[in-house]
């Protein structure tokens, strides 16, 4: 844990999962917005997540400066409403990497644990 830089914002478990889901959804030219983030979380993490929790977390992460958002063009299939698409910011990727490093170190030597 000591390897996590002190200036990295503290991330909760769910916040980390949402940030990672945003990264996954945005890969290959895709857009990370509510629907795709929810799908990624369910598909990759195998966890049922309340949609309200996702939107609240996205909003909170944006306010913390870990995400930025932009509006897409409104489409008919969305009832004329725009998408709010998210992108992960530099501080977020730094925090995610730091968190991963910390976990990796903690796991070192514990591979035999069942």
């Amino acid at each position: 844990v000591g390897a996590v830089p002190h200036d990295s914002p503290a991330l909760g478990e769910f916040e980390q999962m949402v940030l990672l889901a945003v990264l996954c959804a945005g890969q290959g030219g895709g857009q990370a917005y509510g629907v795709t983030v929810h799908q990624e979380l369910e598909r990759r993490a195998g966890r049922r997540v309340a949609r309200g929790a996702i939107y609240m977390t996205l909003d909170r992460l944006e306010k913390k400066g870990l995400l930025t958002s932009y509006q897409s063009e409104p489409t008919a299939e969305r009832g004329g409403r725009a998408r709010r698409c998210y992108e992960v910011t530099k501080p977020a990727t730094t925090a995610l990497r730091a968190s991963r490093r910390a976990l990796t170190r903690l796991w070192e030597g514990l591979e035999g644990v069942k």
Binding site: A50, Y55, Q71, R81
Partner: protein
């Protein structure tokens, strides 16, 4: 939903959330549009609820952190919510029981508060009394006063102020035939009550000068209904159907309550003592007035009473009445506190309703306490683990209490939300003569009551389980059967006591409901003499001065009604129907050979077609022919009760009856009809040709229909309107509605007590089910062993059921004893039944036993499905 989310999130995010939902809905709609629509609403609701909960939580956490410096605000609540989420059936059951009982308790409080608890909306209301006459020999009789007697009061006691109220009458009808009722009042009345009109008011001229339009102080409700609450209504003249024009002289305040238990008037008009029926040259005016007397606190009440008694005695001595009642002249003054007088009629039944409501809440609390203990036992290992990790007994108890509080808050919130429609349904049944000191509504007082109820309920359902939880030691961790035998035995007994208590309370409530609902069912099932499925009542005002003239008007109305599609027959008569009143013309001479108690009800003057419209099939003899009715022949038909009262077993046909000096011949006997109200005792009627009663005229047409009377009623109103006769019509109502309306008080009682009974049955079933289910789930190993030793399914079911026989039996005995004692209070509200009626007792006991058996058999059956191998391996 969208608006709500807009308030909770920023606009852009809310837009995109609903865009996401719409996108997914359209994708799902390819498979099933209905399922997609349902998903959309469910998902929207879930998001809004989640966001709302988080916002509230964050706000509370912010306050607790900044104001009180708490480091982990609400963590107990969050833990409790998660823990309850893991036991959905327990949570739903508890919330359901609280919601049901709170909805009923809140509704009851809203009504009782409006009638009993709210202080009278008059200044210094303890100084107000209802004044009337009295008799030295019979103090219970309190007749009205004549204008001269009131004048004597004013002279005798100048330091008290007296407001006078005259008769209640109908001003006319609104366009949709709503009756506009009015009471005439003296100029002092509002001043005596300490009430000022919202706008306007009577002037001195209004009480002395006759004008074409009648000045009226209209009620706030009537102002809203008839004038849309327009502020420029003052001075406006309006003509009501079937009445004189009225001029709006003012509007009464919203919370004005007329100080009488009569039906609430829509307007007050000036009392004119210089006009008929009060002005009678050379004679004292009729005793038709009632008074409100304000006795200032500084004036001794006994002194006022003495002065008024002396005034009454002096008046009786100076002008002895022509006819004196059997118990002497009216020579005393009666002053009764206004507050007691207004609530006298409804106080007792509302107190009973409040007691029933309290019993239901107590039953709910017992049930919830039982479920709470069972849950603590179910979580014994978890609680022991917490203790092992250092949690104090207080911390454990606090967790348990927070859980109870969360459930109580959710349940009560749902209960209060449900209370609004329940209250609306209840108010529809509230009789007109219940004086409401405020309109029952879910207001701040009711919400405060609900908040108090949450607190009390939480305490009641948390204390016992919390103390059990706090005393839980480490033994559950040591072994599966680690609890001591004595602890198990104690809790087993506690469970039995709870079951017995629940059954006892449920029996009391169920019996109350069964008695009152059974009375109503009996009332409806009895033959009341009408064919309510195809009859219609049309009442009207006659403008002609005599009976012959009135017949022309009746004929015009009947011709119009006869032209309406679906009308089979019409017949007029001179009684008002099912209005809890009847004309008082009972004068007739008992014929020779009649029974000693030959007293019958009123004479009914009938017109052509009456017997056909009523559908009378004579018990003996025949009905009057149209020729006899048209010609005013001296022939009469008796009702069954009249014949029985006068001639007992003898045949009355052909016997003479003398009325107003004319000898009539009895030609037939017909079944009894309840003219006044559905629940009246048959008094017996005499049907005579209308022309033989020239001083009266018909005012009701009975219509028999060949199609649904509701539809015919609508068409009849339209036809009367297009014929220009609607102004004369005062009531068009189906017979079924009129019958139901005449017993509104009984229907209200049946509704309230019936709902309490049904709720108590549901709660006791759920309570026993929860207790037994949790108890049997902890006996999985025991049941497995029984199977292993050759036990059978029926044996296991029998074992569980047998264990409940003792507590249920004890509960029935205790409940039966309480119900037998409480029956005396409800006896006055029963129809024909006695509180000890064995049939209704059997039904009530049967219902409670069925509920208890249902609550026992379901978990017993589930327990019997245990796989013995799995059970033993799991342990």
């Amino acid at each position: 939903m969208f608006t709500l989310l807009h308030r909770l999130l920023d606009a852009g995010l809310a837009e995109s959330v609903f865009g996401d939902l719409e996108e997914e809905r359209q994708r799902r709609a390819r498979r099933s549009r209905l399922a997609a629509r349902l998903w959309y609403w469910r998902a929207s609701f879930a998001i809004v609820m989640f966001v709302a909960f988080r916002r509230v939580y964050e706000a509370v956490a912010e306050v607790l952190t900044s104001r009180f410096g708490l480091s982990a605000p609400g963590s107990d609540v969050v833990h409790a919510v998660r823990s309850l989420g893991r036991s959905p059936w327990y949570s739903v059951t508890v919330v359901g029981v609280i919601a049901m009982s709170m909805a009923l308790a809140t509704t009851t409080f809203a009504i009782v508060d409006g009638v009993l608890f709210k202080p009278l909306p008059y200044s210094a209301s303890s100084e107000l009394f209802v004044g009337s006459g009295g008799y030295a020999k019979r103090p219970s009789e309190t007749p009205s006063l004549s204008p001269e007697e009131i004048q004597h009061w004013r002279v005798a006691a100048p330091d008290v102020r007296i407001g006078v109220m005259g008769l209640q009458s109908t001003l006319g009808r609104t366009a949709d035939l709503e009756e506009v009722r009015t009471v005439s009042v003296s100029p002092e009345l509002l001043d005596v009550l300490g009430v000022r009109p919202l706008v306007g008011g009577f002037t001195a001229d209004d009480f002395t000068t006759a004008t074409g339009d009648r000045p009226a102080l209209i009620s706030h409700g009537f102002w809203q209904r008839a004038f849309g609450g327009r502020p420029d209504v003052l001075g406006e003249t309006t003509t009501l159907a079937g009445g004189r024009p009225i001029r709006v002289a003012g509007v009464l305040p919203r919370d004005f309550v007329f100080p009488s238990t009569n039906r609430r008037p829509d307007a007050l008009v000036p009392l004119r003592l210089d006009q008929p029926p009060f002005a009678r040259p050379g004679r004292a005016g009729p005793a038709l007035l009632s008074t409100i007397v304000r006795v200032p606190a500084a004036v001794p009440f006994a002194e006022v009473q003495t002065k008024l008694d002396a005034a009454m005695q002096a008046f009786a001595d100076a002008a002895p009445p022509v006819r004196t009642a059997a118990h002497g002249p009216r020579n005393r003054a009666s002053l009764r506190p206004l507050e007691a007088e207004l609530t006298r009629r409804s106080a007792r039944v509302l107190a009973l309703v409040a007691a029933a409501s309290g019993t239901l809440v107590l039953l709910a609390c017992l049930t919830l306490a039982g479920l709470g203990i069972a849950r603590v036992e179910d979580r014994a290992r978890e609680v022991a683990l917490r203790r092992a990790m250092g949690a104090s007994g207080w911390a454990i108890a606090r967790l348990q209490s927070v859980e109870a509080m969360v459930l109580a808050v959710i349940g009560t919130s749902i209960g209060v939300a449900l209370a609004a429609p329940v209250l609306t349904a209840t108010l529809r049944l509230l009789p007109d003569d219940v004086p409401l000191l405020k309109e029952p509504t879910i207001d701040l007082r009711v919400l405060l009551f609900a908040a108090g109820a949450v607190l009390v309920t939480s305490l009641l359902i948390a204390l016992w389980p919390a103390s059990v939880a706090a005393r839980t030691g480490l033994s559950p961790l040591m072994a599966c059967s680690g609890q001591s035998q004595s602890t198990k035995t104690t809790r087993g007994w506690a469970r039995r006591v709870l079951v017995a208590g629940e059954v006892a309370l449920a029996l009391v409530l169920t019996l109350g409901g069964t008695l009152v609902v059974g009375s109503l069912a009996l009332l409806w099932s009895e033959d009341h003499g009408y064919s309510e499925a195809d009859s219609l009542i049309v009442e009207f005002n006659v403008t002609a001065a005599d009976r012959l003239g009135s017949r022309t008007e009746i004929a015009a109305i009947e011709t119009v009604l006869g032209g309406v599609v679906g009308v089979r027959a019409t017949g007029a008569f001179d009684e008002s129907l099912l209005q809890r009143s009847f004309n008082a013309d009972v004068s007739w001479k008992a014929p020779a050979g009649a029974g000693q108690w030959c007293l019958v009800g009123p004479k009914v003057g009938v017109e052509t077609g009456f017997f056909e419209a009523m559908g009378f099939v004579p018990n003996a003899g025949r009905v009057l022919t149209n020729g006899e009715v048209d010609g005013g022949q001296p022939v009469v038909v008796l009702s069954e009760t009249a014949a029985k009262l006068c001639w007992e077993a003898d045949d009355p046909i052909g016997r003479p009856v003398t009325m107003n000096g004319t000898v009539f011949t009895i030609v037939g006997v017909v079944p009894d009809v309840r003219f006044s109200a559905l629940d009246e005792r048959a008094a017996g009627q005499i049907y005579v040709p209308g022309l033989t009663l020239p001083q009266r005229w018909s005012r009701t047409v009975l219509v028999r229909t060949t199609r649904l009377p509701d539809a015919v009623a609508r068409d009849a109103i339209a036809a009367l309107r297009s014929a220009g006769l609607i102004d004369q019509v005062t009531r068009v109502m189906t017979m079924r509605a009129a019958l139901a309306d005449s017993i509104r008080a009984r229907r209200l009682n049946a509704w309230l007590f019936g709902v309490f009974a049904a709720a108590s049955i549901a709660i006791v079933a759920v309570g026993i089910l929860g207790l037994i289910a949790m108890a049997t789930s902890r006996r999985t190993r025991e049941i497995g062993v029984r199977y292993a030793l050759g036990g059978t399914r029926s044996g296991v079911v029998g074992l569980v059921v047998r264990e409940q026989v003792l507590p249920v039996g004890a509960g029935l005995l205790a409940g039966g004893a309480v119900a037998a004692w409480a029956g005396q209070f409800i006896g006055a509200y029963l129809y024909r039944f006695q509180p000890s009626d064995p049939r209704l007792w059997t039904m009530a006991v049967g219902a409670v036993i069925t509920a208890a058996l249902t609550g026992t058999l379901i978990p017993a059956w589930r327990a019997s499905r245990v796989d013995p191998v799995q059970a033993l391996r799991a342990e």
